[in-house]
Symmetry: C2
Subunit: 345 residues, 2 copies
């Protein structure tokens, strides 16, 4: 598969990242290699990963294993693992991207460890990017929007948020095919002038940025899809996705309990089952596989530890799509073209 690999995009999948390894990442990688016309490299302890791969019919598929000695555990400290475990499936995988042997890296492992490894040991930031941001594709009533930062930077400065607007716009254009994405900033009120000091200062920078900035959006507006790109600090973004997860679980579990309470509602629930399944699919996180770490010099996607093979497969698709659209290059050009006021500080 050597020559073939150099002509197609190559995506690295961390075979040891996630709650159920290597089975889930390996299965997802096989699906991705089969369906999306990309080469896939699995990183991890060779014997373990090969044994898992052997369980799948992968004859003729462009998939191979690249050995990595170490494994970063979900409980490992992020920065320490980045420094101490360079030979991990994460470190080795990112290095393949750095060396140009692959164009994207996918992991369902320790998010902090992947971020730290990408920044400290691996790819580094795109020149001019102040802080990379985790960017999550988020369900709305009209489809999906992108939300960033969802956890990379708990404390932010206005200049970071302005750059998040730029990076999110590039991503929405590439992944959601939105020509001129509307950018909103999360605030505690719709009107201009509402918000924390951070929001008010960021508002001014975003307004002057040349992006399609529409102003403040409230928590509920995200789901109404007022904006295609929703910008916020990593603390608030993280609270938004976890609150959403919590509410969704509360409602669906509550409904399930109530449906089981009477015979009539049980029958009703059974008859309506297909509707429940379709409604659930509308909010299916496995559709996009994970969050992308924008601002680093390479495509890096980090998914939920409890991702299934379908989510890994989707992450391979999204990674390839981002690489094909030149997301990194577009961010580089966008940042370089920013007025110097925003580059300063």
């Amino acid at each position: 598969m050597g020559n073939e690999a150099t002509e197609k995009l190559t995506v690295v999948v961390d075979a040891m990242g996630g709650d159920v390894v290597p089975s889930v990442p390996v299965e997802g990688a096989v699906l991705g290699a089969r369906e999306f016309g990309v080469n896939v490299i699995l990183t991890g302890p060779q014997d373990v990963v090969n044994a898992e791969l052997a369980k799948h019919d992968h004859a003729g598929l462009p998939i191979r294993v690249h050995h990595a000695d170490e494994v970063v555990e979900m409980t490992d400290h992020a920065a320490a693992s980045a420094r101490g475990k360079r030979e991990s499936s994460i470190g080795v995988g990112l290095n393949l991207v750095k060396q140009g042997e692959a164009q994207a890296f996918v992991s369902m492992g320790n998010t902090g460890a992947v971020m730290a490894a990408a920044l400290l040991g691996g790819l580094g930031r795109i020149r001019g990017v102040k802080r990379p941001a985790l960017c999550t594709v988020f369900p709305t009533k009209k489809g999906f929007c992108v939300l960033l930062d969802t956890g990379a930077n708990a404390d932010c400065r206005p200049e970071y948020l302005a750059q998040f607007g730029l990076m999110g716009s590039v991503y929405a254009r590439s992944i959601l095919n939105i020509e001129n994405p509307r950018v909103g900033i999360v605030s505690n009120g719709e009107e201009e002038g509402k918000g924390s000091e951070l929001v008010k200062e960021s508002f001014g920078l975003l307004k002057a940025s040349g992006l399609n900035f529409i102003g403040n959006v409230e928590g509920k507006d995200i789901f109404e899809h007022l904006a295609d790109v929703v910008v916020t600090d990593g603390f608030t973004g993280n609270v938004i996705i976890k609150t959403s997860e919590g509410v969704a679980k509360l409602i669906t579990n509550g409904l399930r309990e109530e449906l089981m309470r009477t015979t009539l509602s049980k029958i009703g629930g059974l008859l309506a089952k297909s509707a429940f399944v379709r409604a659930g699919k509308r909010m299916d996180y496995t559709e996009f596989g994970g969050a992308v770490l924008l601002g680093v010099d390479g495509i890096v996607i980090v998914g939920h530890g409890r991702s299934n093979a379908r989510a890994v497969r989707s992450a391979v698709r999204v990674a390839a799509q981002a690489a094909r659209h030149g997301v990194v290059e577009s961010i580089r050009q966008g940042i370089a073209a920013q007025p110097s006021a925003e580059k300063g500080a």
Copy 2:
């Protein structure tokens, strides 16, 4: 009703606060006066409110109208209305509490205007309270918890959050009957050491506060009811309640659409209707009527503009309960007993 009024608790209801006035507040006030054994005073333009009251059978009920010339609109600027419209139904109502003619004030009007009027023109803060906070009773899988600040202070300092923990504990004890409420702080990770600078500093103060502090809680943990009192800054708290609102709407509307799609699921939906109603009731905001403004020298409850009469009625109940339990006095004592390190700055 004069003598009787002096012996019972009296709750003022802003007859002109809310999206549908005076009909909704007046109906809710009548329900409250009938059901909870409290006196109710309605504030607003006398002729208008009396005409509305006449539509209800209120003979013998301890309810009366207190004239107020002006009305604060939902679009009025908060601080300006507090200064400029002292004779509004809000200003007059708060003054009744200040003068001791009533023990609590309820409004479904302009939240910012009520807060500003309570602070600037009316009740003022309890001595030692750095910032009053809006405190919302929030549904969880095991009942309800209290969340604060949900919008009074977009920018907070660690000392504010420590006091929110104290005020929220007093409120949870009074309204939810929880003896020793567990206090958590919203963060972007469970482990100690995770969080923004604000969270990390507040963590230390809460740990040393003598409250039943359990540490960080994530967005999803709120709904699991890990804590009875959930502390956060007013920006994040506001984002949490509005995100929850948005997700709930997204899920229920999505499900409704899917149920209408096939005949079978339509029938299923009809058979299961009672289950849907019961599930909806679990998250019913009208149960608590609104958010309480803790830290001001009086009981002030502000509800959603689109509250219905049932929500107004609940707010009257909660207001009376808070007054009966001496929430203001307990906060006063709690703040006075705080170590001086937390009183400083």
